[in-house]
Subunit: 584 residues, 2 copies
Amino acid sequence: MKHLLPNRAQLERHLPILQWGKSYDRETLTSDAVAAVIVTIMLIPQSLAYALLAGLPAQMGLYASILPLVAYAIFGTSRALAVGPVAVVSLMTAASVGNMALQGTAEYALAAVTLAFLSGLILLVLGIFRLGFLANFLSHPVIAGFITASGVLIATSQLKHIFGIDAHGHNLIQLIGSLLENLSTTNFITLFIGLGTVGFLFWVRKGLKPLLLSTGMQPRLADILAKAGPVGAVVVTTLAVWLFNLENHGVKIVGDVPRGLPPLTAPSFDLEIWGQLFVAAVLISIIGFVESVSVAQTLAAKKRQRIVPDQELVGLGASNIAAALSGGYPVTGGFARSVVNFDAGAQTPAAGAFTAIGIALAALLLTPLLFFLPKATLAATIIVAVLSLVDFSILTKTWGYSRVDFAAVFATIFLTLTFGVEVGVSTGVALSILMFLYKTSRPHIAEVGLVPGTQHFRNIKRHRVETHPEVLTIRIDESLYFANARFLEDYIYDRVVCEQPLKHVVLMCSAVNEIDMSALESLEEINHRLDGMGIKLHLSEVKGPVMDKLKRSHFLGDLTGQVFLAQYDAAVALTPKSVVPPAA
Amino acid sequence: MKHLLPNRAQLERHLPILQWGKSYDRETLTSDAVAAVIVTIMLIPQSLAYALLAGLPAQMGLYASILPLVAYAIFGTSRALAVGPVAVVSLMTAASVGNMALQGTAEYALAAVTLAFLSGLILLVLGIFRLGFLANFLSHPVIAGFITASGVLIATSQLKHIFGIDAHGHNLIQLIGSLLENLSTTNFITLFIGLGTVGFLFWVRKGLKPLLLSTGMQPRLADILAKAGPVGAVVVTTLAVWLFNLENHGVKIVGDVPRGLPPLTAPSFDLEIWGQLFVAAVLISIIGFVESVSVAQTLAAKKRQRIVPDQELVGLGASNIAAALSGGYPVTGGFARSVVNFDAGAQTPAAGAFTAIGIALAALLLTPLLFFLPKATLAATIIVAVLSLVDFSILTKTWGYSRVDFAAVFATIFLTLTFGVEVGVSTGVALSILMFLYKTSRPHIAEVGLVPGTQHFRNIKRHRVETHPEVLTIRIDESLYFANARFLEDYIYDRVVCEQPLKHVVLMCSAVNEIDMSALESLEEINHRLDGMGIKLHLSEVKGPVMDKLKRSHFLGDLTGQVFLAQYDAAVALTPKSVVPPAA
């Protein structure tokens, strides 16, 4: 029964911690610990802020930044990925959970926990069945458009905290309408804190580090201080509220944040709730996975390391289930935090585990200090973070390169802004697939001739080539399958009905990567129909795998003409008095 | 404002009757009239039977065979298509309307009328926006599987009438279960009539015409008599019931069929009902259109005539709207009837209009005679008609040729039988598209070398070819797009990490018909990564349309290597000491 026990290599594949854990030494520990300190400083205000964005109590952001990080450290394959709450997933959580319960209720929090559980399950299942390739169906432009539109939505959704007013909505129109409606109730102290923090944080991003370096400070310390900008803003504005009793002047504060480690929680197992959350869970899983894997792969490539996408699904799945069991909400690998983690020198996923310790300490010790933290400060943190995601240049880039890609991006951005995240990203994906199918259903077909002095055949419309009046050579630039089988038939019938004394039609199949059953039936029909007109049908440059399939059918037996290895052979055989000399 | 008035050619395109009507003469009239007589004889029992199959009163079958035929004669482009109630569409009507109301109620009939209206609208919209190509996404094997499975379902659903028992269900398991449960209540007189009619009709199909011909009868008359078999069965069994009062012995009869021309009816405009019927209407439209166009095209090809698919959509759309306004239910072009119409000599769509007159006369004059017609006779007509549609050979054909096509057919048949028509055909279509996408997301990639003595490059695994250790030439057998961009990256990175002293990687793009934005980004990344390893990236045989797009991007400027017109040029340029002499 030996083969039932997994061997060491198999175990290491499924538990990457066993692999990097073997060679863990003091030097790696130091690097990881330093990175963890920096990421912790960055993550404390972010986790509180993203919980707020998701419509959840602030502590759930902290909880989502403890056990999930440990789970990823055990199961994940990226050495630099920083898992935790991220802006886009928080927004998607708010959008889906917001349909089911009112913010602030126990049902709302339970739905968020259940969403994390469902997402975790979906990711695990995808990982176990090696379905990571599904994420490939999200095209780069659709993702870029979605992230940009989400950034705009998120920033807009936080303006209410900056103005100290009420506003709701899951799309830009609702949000802006709601903001304008309530603008007269602006709390100017809140606005002052909010705008001040936004300005301060932008300055920290751009100006603080150069300033510190110019004072002769050590680069690493300057870096840590620059990263601590948001923490500084939190401390200063919290103190300001406390000192001047601003909470009595309408400045909304975070209030009581329970002190202590994450509680043990259980998701709901109500099938109706699962049904309502399922689509959102699928989208969150896929979007989270794609974002996470793409940053992980970028960072791994820099050190010639490898990411195993299917194992990443398991790692992120375990993280989300850990989030669900410890009072958190959906998490994934964050872009900005992972880059910071990498730059700060993280060597192994242990850096994530150390970050978890840092956040746990914060949850144990710092929460009472957060009572007077103004929500405007957290909103400012979010706005500054997400505006770096907003990049409309994808529109101009795709417009210049491909109208199809442009249409997909434009639809994604437009629909995300006007109908919300779920409609936006689903339509973007569906549209890219449909447009790909549409394109392949109307393939480019070129009539080709011989480039003089070579054995090479090109489009008669683009190159000066030699042709023969009795031979029509058609290059089909697409695999032949059910969606374009009829198109090919129509093209050939239309083309052969002419005054030209055609005797041979050659289909040059160098670009035909597949001939399915529908297309085979069409080819049989074409062969039969041309036969009736006294024209022979030939094939050339049929690829190995396609030829293997054709040999299993009756087609080659019924074919009136021949199958030529090279198009040049066809030209030589069919035009004996050809101007072209045979190959040297 | 002259251009606002459509000219004659435009009018003729949208009203094909103007075209064939011009040259209509006495000879054509005679041919059409003879065909109409034969089709009418065939259609009377069929229209009653299919209405029964759809769960509707018998007269609705007649009504669906009058105005819809006239509408098609005006707007359709096929000269032989016989429009009217058909088996598969009747089954689909029963499946969808059966979910909404009880058979025999006014709501049930109204839903069927509304379904015809909705299908008509959908067909019209598809026709007006020239979306006929959408039907291409139904692959031949999926259609074949669906028709076969529907035939089995339909035949099974009629067994209850043959046995004279009650049975219900929309899938094979429910139907068989229900039949077995009630088998003990079999009415043996009904069974005798049913089995007798089935046997008689099979004999008429195979044996009657040869028998009549052997008596020296004129072939055309023999043909008409053979086609009149079902009418004969109707007459004989109706007389038998009337003479022996069999209705008092448990033989179920058609009963009172209102006498007269079709009533003017209006569909429901209740949006909730539209919502419930929408999916079914889409499926009925598409399936009906595909079946209809394929038979129309087959028949047109025999006379070198042309079918205009987008105008066919308009023709069928008008037919269905006519059905909805005159107490009918969804119609389309029937396979068997159209072949009969063609063989009988129909020259123009006027044959359909004459058939409509025949059916109208039947509705006016014959309906009282149908009172004692046993339902078992109609069921026998249906069974014999649909069993000719059942052809499981598509399973063995696809199994031998392509496992992917086989999977789609098998799923379609299996799901249609076990879950009903809607689930079956939707899953079949979705599956063929998904499998196509999956295949293109993991393209065939071949390393190629030069076939000695030629300028032709083939797979090193299949052909004896020449290669050079410093040059890796990869032929990608698929368009590059978002779903396979990552796959190509992984393939190349895995391949170049080897002991081979590689200096050049050439991507041979003869089979690359498209490079979208995602793939462009991947190529940029590959170029960048190979550059870091001291390897140059080259392209060869890039097609015109692809090159046009690349020229609009930065890629060609950043490319470390060159773009070669022919792969042979690349080989000559990159391997100066090549064993290959330059082309003659």
